[in-house]
Symmetry: C2
Subunit: 522 residues, 2 copies
């Protein structure tokens, strides 16, 4: 199968880069027609790519490339449950968890049933612990790592305005943090729920937390009744001491970094109730419908994937700053960082061996306005160009003190400053010169609602899928984490042996580090 | 004055890049002599750059470049209080706040006196609020942004093991977050101290918080007695209602992002007491002494600055992942991001106009082991190369459950995996191939102490200074934040006017965004 660089459109694209390069963004955005061409809207969201170095010709070439690489067929395979995760021979159907009732989408019936069942079991658990008993839950301890925690952490923060009264506090545990123990030790086991989340039920950090928690609550009567395991490996959870009725199923066709739509979000559902979670799912389902049914030239996640490829392969931009301008979205960068970089940070091309083009770049950033007092200096005046992507809220009914107004004013100001620059003090004060002509994308949630937040995350997911599909990358495996895992387990096992001979199997540099460590800790 | 590219060594360096490129890191680290050449130690820290694509010849060329660019003279100017911040005609003497008693360093006497006075006034404030009265302080509200908050936030987290018993909780406020109000509203004003930190006393966000806090506590008797202002503009603080005796001086020769050594860290000092803070300062002073007195070829911050330049200009690496493997250092990336990118993310070269070489790249990352379950996939198997810098603790007396052992094992495993790769499954499973040959730096605190933490931050500061000096950048101004500030103030002012005519002064793209916002909020 040919890859993206095999088509004549690739050469066409490369030739068009210097043409577009000549156009200063400052000039491009004087054209009123640009709003029609480069601003896109859905029910919940507004997307503005006007302040990027792109024109209709570039988009047209990119759309033709999408056709040539078989994007539409790949999308069809994705939604109909084909094993698009080729290296693990599995489908990737996380979207079914929110869109299973959508008859336009080609899901097999058994998948619809499993998704329906998944949601039903979440509600059953919720009712059992929160409603029927009238029991008060003050705290939830949630242990998970990577895909099992980035989602609920983001969501718990994002949905704060929608919490029930007296919502429990959630304590998130991932990599080892000693002083968290003192927080847990002070919790009342009678009003605390423990959730251990691990798809494989083998993540070292998560299993370690389970043993630490058990030690803390060893004398609490019937404590295991309060302990839930969310996993696709139920037998392992039973072996670890969980009551069978407290094991929550996790479909094997949902990858960790796509699991926010599943029972993995239970801690947040304990805070909001299931209705708010349904709204969140519904917003995502709207984006699924858009992505699946909309033609190439109006398909928003695809357009963003194409812009990303245009930036990384046309302009050699190696990073993108993702800057959320709302406290509810303050963990968005971390969420998207995992989503995009773990999905598409790969070199192995399904058809052809090693990619001869750029796949995912670095996604990084901090929330505004804090970022303005930190690294924005570099984005405005540094020697490298790094496209900025701003995400804000057009209308926030929950804010007070005109806080959202301040945030949006700053966000628009930054995007304008990057694009237009300023010639202030060019003669006397050359250090005050802002060259401008730096790409800035703006995304707005029209209102701050669970639906809009769901729609936003589904947009990022499909953009990631579309990029992977265009670049012939399997976006659903993560072999890149395996080597480090193995090496760490080997080292940990050996650290408990009595002599240091094992160290000699490593290179000289690693030997030295291991010796320094063992010397200090014997 | 010539810049770095004007010397023949620059060409020599460029020519040496392809020579070194040929050496696989995996091969380089089989040489035991590499430990002697590329591992450096101080009293508190261990630095290992063995797993980078660098050799003695490259370092030798870089050292000669340091001599040619006048690095030693620039260092002398820095420490002796010359106005190295040329665009604002000010010295940059933050190091004097910790090293003022060091007679080897060429500080003017008045600077030593001012630094001594600065520390004394911190202790006076501490004693007034914490010791003499026997009053219990339960909470500190600290409002600041950028340079005024990144430092104390990092430090409060890092020094947790050294807190006094019943240390107050510190609530950090920077950019607008609506729901923080509810936390503040529940505090007891009798046992709460408010600190408003702003060097200029004009940061919009910080002043806004002051008005929000005043509204909340409007009925608390004598509340202003509990309110401190840390500023270099005392008159503005008096005008804003602070009692004169509650204004804490901030030397004008301390830049915001270098202010962790000043009264800006008062909230943390309320938690630890002044003795721990002294230890933190002493550790930094040790690094000052090393940096000032050590010859070029053994000067650790300089060597790291040269490695950074080698990476950015020789290999065109545009980012560096900074990965702290200890919960106490979890905010290190954010701290160094601000320090390096705001200091050296510039194009204006003191002598020559616009740089024809690369200045600061992107510093980004997340703490381990969380990062391993997120973007490390890309570092191991992505199409771009991004050097990784790991920071961990050799001996942590405060950890339990072998947590630090887990962290260090993972950190060493990751560095080895990046450097050495793996050929696992190359034939049948090409997606499991790890190419290796990816640069990894390891920094260890020998023990987890306030001194080691101080030494580490001073190392990052001097590395940043050394890079700026080599690249003829003024590392101490931040004109790049000005344009956005002005634009935001203009927009905010205009949003309160009754008609929308003002919008027409913007480009079409910005006009559209402003219209969308005003339409939703009228």
């Amino acid at each position: 199968m040919p890859v993206i660089t095999d088509f004549p459109e690739w050469e066409e694209l490369k030739k068009h880069v210097p043409v577009v390069s000549k156009n200063n963004i400052n000039k491009l955005i004087q054209d009123p027609d640009r709003i029609n061409k480069f601003v896109f809207k859905t029910e919940r969201l507004l997307f503005d790519i006007t302040k990027n170095k792109i024109d209709s010709t570039a988009l047209d070439i990119l759309f033709r490339l999408a056709e040539k690489t078989g994007f539409n067929q790949k999308k069809q395979d994705f939604f109909s449950g084909k094993p698009v995760n080729t290296t693990e021979n599995r489908p990737a159907l996380h979207h079914a968890l929110r869109s299973y009732e959508n008859k336009t989408l080609p899901y097999p019936e058994n998948i619809r049933a499993e998704a329906r069942q998944s949601l039903a079991s979440i509600e059953t658990i919720y009712n059992r612990f929160c409603s029927t008993d009238n029991k008060k839950i003050t705290d939830v301890i949630f242990a998970g790592i990577g895909g099992s925690i980035t989602g609920p952490k983001f969501l718990s923060n994002a949905l704060k305005p929608f919490f029930k009264e007296n919502a429990p506090a959630v304590h998130f545990l991932s990599s080892p943090v000693t002083d968290v123990k003192s927080i847990i030790e002070n919790l009342d086991p009678k009003t605390t729920i423990v959730i251990i989340a691990s798809k494989s039920f083998s993540s070292v950090e998560t299993i370690k937390w389970w043993s630490v928690i058990q030690n803390i609550f060893v004398n609490a009567p019937d404590f295991q009744k309060h302990c839930l395991a969310i996993t696709a490996a139920p037998q392992k959870a039973i072996d670890a001491g969980f009551p069978e009725e407290n094991i929550v199923h996790f479909p094997t066709w949902t990858g960790g970094r796509y699991s926010i739509w599943s029972a993995i979000s239970l801690p947040v559902i304990f805070q909001t109730g299931p209705e708010v979670f349904h709204k969140f799912l519904n917003g995502a389902a709207e984006m699924d419908h858009h992505f699946f049914t909309t033609e190439t030239s109006k398909n928003i996640p695809l357009i963003f994937a194409l812009l990303d490829i245009w930036h990384s392969n046309g302009f050699e931009y190696s990073t993108r700053a993702l800057l959320p301008y709302h406290p509810g979205l303050s963990l968005l960068t971390e969420y998207v960082q995992q989503l995009e970089m773990e999905s598409n940070g790969k070199s192995f091309v399904i058809e052809n061996g090693i990619a001869n083009y750029k796949t995912s770049g670095i996604v990084w950033g901090l929330p505004g306005t804090d970022c303005q007092h930190s690294f924005m200096q570099l984005l405005h005046q540094g020697t490298g160009i790094h496209p900025a992507e701003f995400v804000g809220i057009l209308k926030d009914s929950f804010n007070s003190d005109h806080f959202n107004e301040m945030l949006v004013a700053n966000m628009i100001a930054q995007s304008t400053g990057l694009a237009c620059g300023s010639e202030t003090g060019d003669a006397d004060e050359p250090y005050r010169r802002f060259p401008g002509d730096r790409p800035a994308t703006v995304i707005f949630l029209k209102e701050y609602t669970p639906e809009a937040i769901g729609s936003l995350l589904a947009f990022y997911e499909h953009r990631t899928f579309a990029e992977g599909a265009m670049l012939s990358i399997n976006s659903f495996d993560q072999w890149g984490v395996e080597l480090g895992k193995q090496l760490a387990v080997n080292i940990l096992d050996n650290l408990n042996t009595s002599n240091n001979d094992w160290i000699k199997s490593y290179d000289k540099s690693t030997q030295n580090l291991l010796q320094e460590f063992t010397r200090k800790n014997r």
